[in-house]
């Protein structure tokens, strides 16, 4: 029987705030055995990062450990009793930390290898340069990076490479425990899979314990041995991953698992029985791209493509892609925020570039959007009702203040918000989920003909995602609004859309109805994407790393577009 590598006993952490003492972590007890991977899962504010920082003794002031014990290693070192200097030595040497924001975790003005060397020197004293070089090269190699990467500056690395550098840094002194705090939250799924597998392989190589902090049940299910579910600072469930995924006891755990949409799984939507009438007038398609392309300098963000969305029947068209695929460029072209480099964007047969003032206002009224970041969408200077009231009046929909007020309240209720609690508040007083629902309410109030939803749920807590998507789906289902749904998430696209376009580096990789494209992908890129999605299913093999993500992706660039079927009311083609 091995002794645990980390023992937390009745750990409580308090933060004094203007509103009084906040108990960030309450009576947490947990043991981690050597070589085990333990996932800390919970939503923001559940105390998972706070616990990790307490183990490193790096809690941000004024937070402090109120009671309890933290013991590290076989010798049961009392972490809380260590001197400053001993604690400093223990960091990286015995416990290493892989931070969340890999984008900014490296010193921008130091070469990567220097940032590995200073860690070694701080623990082992002056070391021979050749020896330092050998060890940093070896560490980089262990995470699948070439030795020359060490001589680059952080801004010359991609996000995935930076995160690997952080992993290499974390294992350079072969610690007893690695704490990885949402190491892949800023990466896209293909890179996420590669980085996660690098991390678990390196961890297995040195046989240390691993704490993986995260909020994604799918990622947890595919990477850790044990799960610790935290809610509001309390450990609500702890046990073997398989056992928790297959038989969750606590209702919160059940919520976390069911909030992950699955490709082919049960739908979280309940379509209305009778389809509503479309709001469209006239014979021209609602929105049309005619050989549209977009270049920024030398970079082609979007290769020429044409499509026509008739809008006779409300439909949801999903545009799926990872960062840099050109999907947000498409959104901004459709909204007329950006002119195309070639081709025309037409709204009801009229070119957006030549709309007059009155037509422009008409276009704005009828084509609305929901953006990714609900925090940025409200002007911090005004109460939130400004964002609803202003366009309503501007588009001439208002018949007086009472009418506006009534419309705002109705729209709020339609998305499940209490207007009395919400409308007169300032944006910072609302949660991200509340704000995003308000934006959906705004769209509903203006009743446009078309809604562009650009990653509407990617910045919202997982438990709220389904609700907001349902709100958006209702816009089509109950109010007859056609929707272009831009997302990186294949699973939700599978459920909500009538047609799916998979974009890769500005080109269409695969397009067709979701049952074909996502349910039975034929294009290697779509296959890769679907393989990379982590599912809350312990039995599903997540594959093993073969080669480098970047080179793997490069080969897919020239693969021809695959059209997988057509639907009425929407036609798509690439330039010949």
């Amino acid at each position: 029987m091995t002794s645990p590598i980390l023992t937390l006993k009745d750990l409580s952490i308090d933060f004094p705030t203007p509103g009084g003492l906040v108990h960030a972590v309450k009576q947490l007890s947990l043991e981690i055995d050597p070589g085990r991977r333990v996932g800390f899962i919970g939503e923001s504010g559940s105390g998972k990062t706070t616990t990790a920082l307490a183990i490193m003794r790096m809690l941000a002031a004024p937070g402090k450990v109120a009671s309890g014990e933290i013991r590290l290693g076989h010798d049961k070192t009392d972490v809380l009793a260590l001197s400053e200097e001993d604690m400093r030595k223990a960091r990286l040497g015995r416990v290493s930390y892989i931070p969340q924001g890999a984008m900014n975790s490296l010193n921008p003005i130091m070469r990567v290898e220097n940032q590995m060397w200073d860690g070694i020197v701080a623990h082992e004293g002056k070391t021979d340069l050749a020896e330092l070089q050998r060890r940093s090269d070896a560490a980089l190699e262990s995470v699948g990076l070439a030795a020359h990467v060490g001589r680059l500056y952080p801004h010359e690395l991609s996000g995935g490479m930076k995160q690997r550098v952080c992993i290499a840094l974390g294992v350079i002194l072969t610690p007893e425990l690695i704490i990885a705090d949402e190491p892949t939250s800023a990466l896209d799924v293909v890179t996420q899979k590669h980085v996660m597998q690098t991390l678990t392989r390196v961890q297995e190589d040195i046989g240390c314990g691993l704490i993986l902090i995260g909020h994604d049940m799918g990622l947890m299910a595919q990477s850790v041995d044990e799960l610790a579910v935290l809610k509001d600072g309390e450990l609500v469930e702890h046990g073997d991953t398989r056992q928790i995924i297959e038989n969750p006891q606590h209702p919160y755990t059940q919520d976390l698992i069911s909030s992950v949409p699955l490709v082919g799984g049960p739908s979280f939507l309940s379509p209305a029985v009778s389809a509503p009438a479309s709001q469209k007038e006239g014979p021209d398609p609602l929105l049309q791209f005619r050989d549209v392309s977009k270049r920024y300098g030398d970079v082609t963000a979007l290769h020429p493509m044409s499509f026509a969305l008739d809008g006779d029947v409300p439909q949801i068209i999903s545009i799926v892609g990872q960062s840099g695929s050109g999907k947000s460029t498409m959104g901004s072209l459709m909204l007329g925020f950006n002119p195309p480099s070639s081709g025309e964007v037409l709204y009801e047969g009229k070119n957006l570039a030549t709309l007059g003032a009155a037509q422009g206002l008409e276009f704005r009224k009828n084509v609305q959007a929901v953006f990714q970041d609900p925090y940025a969408c409200f002007n911090p200077f005004y109460r939130v009702d400004h964002a609803l009231k202003f366009p309503f009046k501007r588009f001439g929909l208002s018949q007086g203040d009472d009418h506006t007020q009534q419309a705002m309240e109705d729209a709020c209720e339609a998305v499940g918000l209490d207007p009395n609690l919400i409308l007169r508040r300032y944006p910072h007083q609302l949660s991200g989920g509340q704000r995003q629902r308000l934006i959906v309410a705004r769209a509903l109030m203006l009743s446009p003909k078309l809604l562009i939803a650009d990653e509407p749920v990617s910045m919202v807590d997982a438990s709220l995602r389904a609700t907001i998507l349902k709100n958006i789906y209702d816009l089509k289902d109950k109010h007859g609004i056609s929707i272009l749904y831009i997302t990186h998430d294949l699973a939700t696209a599978y459920h909500v859309s009538d047609y799916v376009i998979v974009l890769y580096q500005g080109r269409i990789a695969e397009a067709g109805p979701p049952k074909q494209v996502i349910g039975d992908p034929q294009h290697p890129y779509t296959q890769l994407l679907i393989d990379s999605i982590p599912w809350p299913d312990v039995n599903r093999p997540w594959g093993t790393v073969t080669g480098d993500a970047d080179s793997q992706l490069k080969q897919l660039q020239d693969h021809p577009t695959m059209f997988r079927g057509v639907i009425d009311g929407f036609s798509l083609s690439t330039a010949a």
């Binding site: 400093r88 931070p99 701080a122 500056y153």
Partner: protein
């Protein structure tokens, strides 16, 4: 360390040339718009010296010809630009016929010397103190005392100069009241002369330092607080690095970068402040030269000296801009 990207270099060079050209043009245009005629001022001075001047009109005319005031404006302007490029500002009207460039050449080393010393000291002290105010391990005294001292740093150097001069020179007689070296020492590369220069230069330098370090300290404080919250500083701590090492290599090294940009923007005001300090200390630099020229209405000297100071300022900004990409590797990727 980084290399200077060519596009960046070209942009900076264009800004430098534009600055110098615009300044030179302003200096030329402004007096031309004025109703005052420099030739008449000269004549007035001669009249004041000799009681009456015979054939005044003739002299006036020859003076106008001499200053080229009869040429068409464009010709005057082009000649002026040509002269400015060759540092030929004509002759001083007050100490006729000394070339203005000689007067400037005599005054400039004093100003440059004082400036380099005082600016370097303030920049270092200010940034060091600003960094220490934020660092968690600084002695408590530092974190409490500096903000109090900073209150005085909003005062322009001319006022601090007056106060220091009154207390340390006039009252306590620790330092000489005015001048840039003692009347009894002979200028030259001798120890006694050097001593005298340092002795005389101490107060002007001090009056600049005491009131300008706070600007840097305040700026540094803000930047350090930002850097303190950065992920890389947190990771540095998690790497178990020594606190001092983190302070130098991670915090100060990053926080100093915007300060260097600010330095380039601030040079103009620093120079102006120093000109005034030189004037009250009757220090033999450009400040005194300009002040005397104002008293004498010596136009060529005012123009020449102003132009040279602006040129020095623009050159220092250019130098700072050249150094910048060497210490920030990211600049290559910007336009």
């Amino acid at each position: 360390m980084g290399r200077i990207p060519p596009q960046y270099l070209i942009n900076r060079l264009i800004t430098l040339l534009l600055t110098v050209w615009i300044a030179a043009t302003l200096i030329w245009i402004i007096p031309r718009l004025s109703p005052v005629d420099p030739a008449e001022i000269m004549l007035g001075r001669m009249a004041a010296g000799a009681g009456t001047v015979e054939n005044a009109d003739q002299i006036l005319q020859s003076l106008r010809a001499r200053f080229g005031l009869d040429d068409p404006l464009l010709v005057q302007y082009l000649k002026y630009i040509r002269n400015v490029v060759t540092f030929d500002f004509g002759l001083s009207t007050a100490s006729f016929p000394t070339p203005v460039s000689h007067l400037i050449a005599r005054a400039l080393p004093w100003t440059l010397g004082l400036m380099i010393i005082s600016v370097t000291i303030t920049f270092f002290i200010g940034n060091a103190l600003g960094a220490l105010m934020v660092w968690e391990r600084s002695p408590k005294l530092v974190r409490v005392a500096i903000p109090v001292a900073m209150i005085f740093t909003s005062i322009p150097p001319i006022l601090s100069g007056l106060l220091l001069m009154y207390f340390l020179s006039a009252k306590m007689r620790l330092f000489p009241l005015t001048g840039s070296y003692g009347l009894t020492v002979e200028p030259g590369w001798t120890w006694s002369f050097a001593q005298s220069v340092m002795y005389h230069g101490f107060l002007p330098a001090l009056s600049i330092v005491v009131v300008t370090f706070g600007f840097w300290a305040l700026g540094m404080r803000g930047l350090m607080i930002t850097v303190q919250g950065e992920d890389y500083t947190k990771l540095a701590e998690a790497k178990g690095l020594r606190p001092r090492y983190i302070l130098y290599k991670y915090m100060i090294r990053n926080a100093i970068l915007p300060q260097i940009t600010a330095f380039a923007l601030k040079i103009g005001l620093l120079v102006a402040g120093q000109i005034l300090v030189e004037r009250i200390f009757a220090y033999n630099g450009m400040g005194k030269l300009i002040y005397d020229a104002i008293l004498d209405q010596d136009f060529p000297v005012i123009q020449g000296a102003s132009y040279i100071i602006i040129l020095m300022t623009a050159l220092s900004v250019f130098l700072v801009d050249l150094i910048y990409p060497l210490i920030d590797p990211r600049i290559k990727h910007e336009r």
